[in-house]
């Protein structure tokens, strides 16, 4: 099973619960007002069918409702003052909010339709009476789409169709009135006028047409609408609708906006992120944002960045912990490497290793236990972990930081008079010192270059500078003496030109060495290949002396060698007479 940290109890695991969902579609609530909190899950199924609203009591499935479209969010909220205080479940799906009370469908709220582009409306009206050619209609719609006009779903579908299917499609749909609807992207709640736990709450929802709507819980009318510069994806609300509130919204363009009661200028309090947000949580006054570039940022509610943490893998889900019995607040981040990290402030305080990538998480009260973490995984598993009563989270980084030794003070000696004088001198005469250094450096370079030119002039280097005879030489000595093997390697470095009529000869101290071949005739050198020429040398002394040996490559008729190699001979071992 999972390798567990010692702070969590593994209360329940079902790796094959076939529950495919995200954090937004998981919620914990006391929907029967019996003190036994239920887990409410909007199951995405396969994404096209089998979408269900599931309610778990303890570990058993209590009820199941089919959802028609893909759910995008689930919340519970109190919509009346009746006792027992049973909250309603709101499921956002497409342009609708389905409200369930006592586990029965209760109400369906539809978002107000949007204005249709007049040209588009006109086209469909003409189509109704067959006044327009369908191909012309398609071209006009296509032109509108390219200009950036937002079209209805029906028109977009028409543009995607094959030409031979168009007529049927138009005939099928032309008589139903054209409607333009948006899609809910995120859902949250906000208490209306009192901050009690079971106070009546408004629904707050973000939509694809870049708006935030606040709904009245009793009449289901739109209480307020705010337009945003981009599509909202994550929403976090606090405050009371009738008093004062803040809505923090992160959008698809990588910006976080803060909306206040009565203010319409949303760009005033804006946080720009480096990357797209993949999760946003708010704990107390701090906003924690996980981004696509594997970072976790923390901002104050004013938009000031407090810190950034780099994560080892990309984020798949985020959730806030606010565990009141121990006044422990933290942020849980699920990562694509199957780990779940818990950050208290910027410190990593715990790591949970899972068998699967966690895609949805909820921390809160489940059953009768306060500190419960419910997780759903990519392969459809459901995991429940309970925080131990004795668990303590040390506010210390688990990761390797700077070693402790770095903070200990070193026992530095006092500044001596010499040091002070030197510093003084350096400070006063910095210009002169710099100039001296530069002059010396220039002279050094000059000297190096001069020596180089000299070497070139006398062909003292092992690579030929003569363009007519491009050669490279390397020489090696092998053996320990008194007889050595001396090998010379010659390579013609030109691409096309071959070299011929060359000689190799050696310059050495005749008292010390005796070369068995004093002159080597070099055959024609084909470009690119390396030729090896060997000779034996006998060392004539046993006094432990050694000398340099020079190798020349000569061309008949030239007094200066083409190339020269210098080999320093090793000290020879003395002859052992047996």
């Amino acid at each position: 099973m999972t390798e567990n940290s010692d702070k969590w109890l593994d209360a329940y695991h079902d790796p094959v619960a076939s529950l495919y969902t995200f954090t937004q579609c998981l919620t914990l609530s006391d929907i029967q007002a019996d003190g036994d909190w239920k887990l409410i899950v909007a199951d995405l199924g396969t994404g096209t069918y089998d979408m269900k609203l599931k309610v778990y009591k303890n570990t058993t499935l209590l009820s199941e409702h089919t959802i028609i479209d893909l759910p995008t969010g689930v919340v519970t909220f109190y919509m009346d003052t009746l006792t027992p205080r049973t909250p309603a479940i709101a499921v956002a799906s497409g342009p609708y909010i389905y409200v369930y009370k006592n586990l029965r469908p209760y109400f369906k709220f539809t978002l107000p339709p949007l204005d249709i582009h007049p040209v588009e409306e006109d086209l469909w009206n003409q189509a109704k009476t067959d006044q327009v050619n369908i191909l012309n209609m398609r071209d006009t719609l296509e032109a509108m789409r390219q200009e950036g006009a937002s079209l209805t779903v029906r028109s977009i579908k028409l543009l995607q169709m094959e030409t031979n299917n168009l007529q049927n499609f138009v005939n099928l749909h032309k008589n139903t009135p054209l409607k333009k609807q948006t899609v809910i992207t995120c859902l949250s709640t906000m208490k209306k006028s009192v901050p009690d736990d079971d106070a009546i709450s408004c629904l707050v929802l973000g939509t694809e047409n870049k708006s935030i709507y606040i709904l009245d819980p009793e009449a289901f009318t739109v209480l307020a609408t705010v337009n945003l510069p981009n599509v909202p994806v994550f929403i976090s609300v606090n405050g009371l609708f009738d008093v004062d509130y803040r809505i923090v919204v992160s959008c698809r363009n990588g910006c976080i906006y803060t909306l206040k009661r009565g203010s319409t200028d949303v760009t005033r309090n804006m946080i720009e992120l480096n990357s797209q947000p993949v999760g946003m949580e708010r704990v107390n006054k701090n906003i924690y944002v996980g981004c696509m570039d594997e970072t976790l940022h923390c901002f104050t509610s004013k938009g000031k960045k407090l810190w950034t943490v780099r994560l080892p893998a990309s984020i798949t889900a985020m959730e806030a912990i606010d565990y009141k019995p121990k006044s422990f607040t933290a942020v849980i981040v699920a990562l694509s490497n199957q780990e779940v990290h818990i950050y208290k402030e910027k410190y990593l305080v715990d790591v949970l290793k899972m068998d699967d990538v966690v895609t949805g998480m909820r921390f809160g009260r489940f059953g009768r236990e306060d500190g419960t973490l419910v997780m759903s995984t990519k392969r459809g598993g459901l995991f429940v972990k309970i925080l131990k009563r004795t668990a303590k989270f040390e506010e210390k980084d688990k990761l390797a930081g700077p070693p402790a030794a770095q903070n200990t003070k070193l026992n530095l000696p006092k500044k001596t008079k010499l040091f002070v004088d030197q510093t003084q001198r350096e400070r006063e005469q910095c210009v002169a010192m710099h100039r001296t250094f530069q002059r010396d450096l220039a002279q050094l370079r000059l000297k190096v270059l001069r020596e180089y030119v000299k070497a070139l002039d006398s062909s003292m280097n092992p690579i030929s500078s003569d363009p007519m005879e491009p050669l490279k030489l390397s020489a090696h000595v092998q053996g320990i003496g008194p007889t050595f093997k001396f090998s010379v390697k010659l390579q013609n470095t030109s691409l096309t030109q071959s070299s011929s009529n060359l000689l190799i000869t050696f310059d050495y101290d005749e008292h010390l060495y005796d070369f068995r071949k004093k002159l080597i005739q070099v055959p024609i050198l084909v470009p690119g290949l390396t030729y090896s020429f060997d000779t034996f040398i006998d060392c004539k002394t046993d006094k432990g002396l050694s000398d340099n040996v020079k190798v020349y490559v000569l061309k008949p008729g030239k007094s200066i060698p083409l190339i020269t190699g210098v080999v320093s001979m090793p000290v020879s071992e003395s002859i052992v007479l047996v």
């Binding site: 109890l9 593994d10 209360a11 329940y12 003190g35 303890n58 570990t59 058993t60 019995p325 489940f366 059953g367 009768r368 236990e369 306060d370 419960t372 429940v384 309970i386 131990k388 009563r389 004795t390």
Partner: protein
């Protein structure tokens, strides 16, 4: 007057007194179980979540029990260990329908067993797998398996399924506990 005490005890009028602790998670039925043993005139009709703890007295066949009915709520659980020293027996109540929190019960039991006051004492532990009437309740065997009671070897223990609302199974458990406590008392005398 020790002579009269001995006489009364011999005549069966005065019973030996023992202290037992009743522990378990919140909402497992500890107070309801104790309530069942009380005499009809002292019975409570409304059971509310216990705050802190209650001390209740009741009698079995041959012993007079003083029960420390501890609160099972998370924030009061650290109170339990204060009373381990003076108790002669422990009644551990489990909500057998709460599968999710079985691990929490196990964790609390382990903490109890690891406590230095109890670790080396051979103190009898009676487990009630309570709420056996609930629809999704697990059997007492399964319960003991989930709590890994088989590994509990240095203390006498006994588990019985119970229903504190009707009293089913309660006396079976208390009879076992009485027998165990009598053995302990006899050993003490020697």
């Amino acid at each position: 007057m020790p002579f009269f005490d001995a006489l009364a005890r011999w005549l069966g009028m005065k019973k030996k007194e023992v202290n037992v602790m009743v522990v378990g998670l919140d909402n497992s039925g500890k107070t309801t179980i104790i309530n069942h043993f009380k005499s009809p005139e002292t019975k409570n009709h409304d059971i509310v979540p216990t705050v802190g703890f209650n001390v209740e007295k009741f009698k079995s066949k041959s012993l007079a029990f003083t029960a420390f009915d501890m609160s099972g709520q998370g924030r009061y659980r650290n109170l339990w260990e204060q009373y381990y020293k003076e108790c002669d027996g422990i009644i551990f109540v489990i909500d057998s329908s709460d599968k999710l929190r079985m691990v929490v019960a196990k964790e609390e039991l382990n903490l109890l067993l690891e406590n230095p006051e109890l670790k080396n004492r051979s103190i009898p532990i009676l487990f009630y797998a309570n709420k056996m009437d609930a629809r999704d309740a697990v059997s007492s065997v399964k319960c003991s398996h989930l709590l890994e009671l088989q590994s509990l070897s240095n203390k006498p223990w006994f588990i019985c399924a119970s229903n504190a609302l009707t009293g089913e199974g309660l006396h079976e458990g208390v009879d076992w506990l009485t027998d165990q406590l009598k053995i302990v008392l006899q050993k003490k005398k020697k």
